[in-house]
Amino acid sequence: MAVIKVQKLTKNFKDLVAVDRVSLEIDEGECFGLLGPNGAGKTTLVHMITAVSLPDDGDIWVLGKDLRKYPRQIKAMFGVVPQIDNLDPELTVLQNLTTFARYFDIAKDEAKRRSMAALNLFRLEGKSNSRIKELSGGMKRRLLLARGLINNPRVIILDEPTIGLDPQSKYLVWQKLKQLKGQGVTQLLCTQNMDEAAVLCDRVAIMHQGRVLALDSPRGLISRHVGDEVVEIEVRDGEREKIVAELERRELDFEDATATIQVFHCDCDRLKEELGGFSWNIWSRLATLEDIFFRLTGRGLVE
């Protein structure tokens, strides 16, 4: 059974359709990524799944329960790590965790025990009596993550969990998320970070303007939409038309990315060899989720 099942979910803000008839199924134990540019509707979708925002249309089912009817029981199974820092600055670091545990009806001693364990896990043990404003950005993110895990959730929902983190902190968070997956915790991860999606997610949905444009494993998306390798040709003065004409003549799948022209779904080594006579600056590299992202959502700013 799907842990989270979303059917034809729609949300409008004034004249903007933020989420447009999205249907998804997230399976038990998988890490499901929502990838999309700013304003794609990821956060709005997550807000609806966590009952902070009401859908205009469509249904959300969690483990077979209707979210509208059982919001408390469903929220009790969720751990939510928000995009913005909403730690409670009027409480200490430790109180932030114990107070949160109390919202889940975790008894005092158990709350204290879990909180201390969580602080240790996220290398915050020395900060238990600090105030929130004394923490660095990375520490706050780690504390948000620790807070999201305090109820031993069955599903953890993360909105940009590593945004603005230094590489060490990011690595720590990724390790922790992988461990959780090993323990069978289902994850819903919103991210703009392609590496993050590639490293962590079993399946990725690419969202744009409120819709899901593509949905598959990272590898599946890559081989379907761009191929395993991408050939890039540098565009120097006056060469654009010639390159485009040549690629069109060969009926290749290519895209003009301004500084370079990228060729997809090709036999890269052969193409490089065949184009060798043109004295163009040409190379190949492994395809990434970023290539698909650009192909599907375009290169222009969307906001």
């Binding site: 929220k75 009027e90 409480l91 109180q95 889940f104």
Partner: protein, 254 residues
């Protein structure tokens, strides 16, 4: 409309913990200011006012000071405090990700506001006893009235929070609502000293019944009209409690 559950107690506990951590910085507002008010008005004005209803002016205003500061304690908590938690700290968002629903959060805020009224009223009562200003044993019921009054003003405050576009909106709330009702309530002047038109206004402002009830308990003198005051407080408290439930859901859960 959805109703709050016992989980509103969790929000109340959160506010209590913050209060216990920070009470030293909040203390001037609910301990020193009412005492200064009592002494300054009582001794200063009292010199000119003479005797009102057979009472020294200081004795006359004790109930007024209790009712007024019970009102402001709940009001600050459920206007600036609540708005700050909702809009700037994003505390509501974080709590709504737990089994608490918005009604639990709002009810917890209101009950906490009422608790602040209770604390403030009790402190002023104790001070008044120390100054030997309270003759009637009925004063022991003053905290009960303070709680009802607190629920009423906290609920009115939360209803306003649900509409407030920005934190500056509360300037209007305090200047155009809280300040005038303080003066029209009979807290500091006997109501019969006002012109008749003003007396009509006085009889509807929500602080008036609280002042009347507390004054009756302090003096140990009762009349049937007090029942109406009590019903009026409970009616307004109930009405605005439910308004704030519905309106805050509309505001927070879009």
């Amino acid at each position: 409309m959805r109703l709050p559950s016992w989980r509103s107690f969790r929000m109340w506990q959160r506010n209590r913990d913050v209060f216990l951590r920070l009470w030293r910085s909040i203390a001037p507002g609910f301990i020193f200011e009412p005492i200064i008010m009592l002494l300054a008005l009582g001794l200063g004005f009292g010199y000119f006012m003479g005797v009102i209803d057979e009472l020294e002016y200081m004795e006359f205003i004790v109930p007024g000071v209790i009712a007024t500061y019970a009102m402001t304690s709940a009001t600050f908590e459920c206007t600036y405090g609540a708005f700050f938690r909702m809009e700037y700290r994003r505390t509501y968002d974080s709590i709504l990700a737990t089994p608490l629903n918005i009604e639990d959060v709002v009810a917890g805020e209101i009950f906490w506001g009422a608790t602040r009224s209770l604390v403030t009223a009790t402190i002023i009562l104790v001070v008044a006893v120390l100054f030997q200003l309270l003759p009637s044993p009925w004063v022991l019921l003053v905290p009960v009235v303070a709680v009802l009054e607190g629920v009423m003003f906290a609920s009115i405050g939360m209803a306003f929070v649900s509409l407030a576009p920005s934190i500056y909106s509360f300037n209007y709330y305090f200047t155009l609502f809280i300040a005038p009702i303080t003066f029209f309530s009979g807290a500091f002047f006997p109501l019969d000293s006002f012109p008749e038109a003003v007396q009509v206004v006085s009889s509807i402002v929500p602080l008036t019944p609280a002042v009347e009830l507390i004054r009756a308990l302090v003096q140990g003198e009762f009349h049937p009209g007090l029942l109406l005051s009590l019903v009026y407080i409970i009616f307004l408290a109930g009405l605005f409690f439910f308004i704030s439930m519905v309106a805050m859901r509309r505001r927070v859960i879009d």
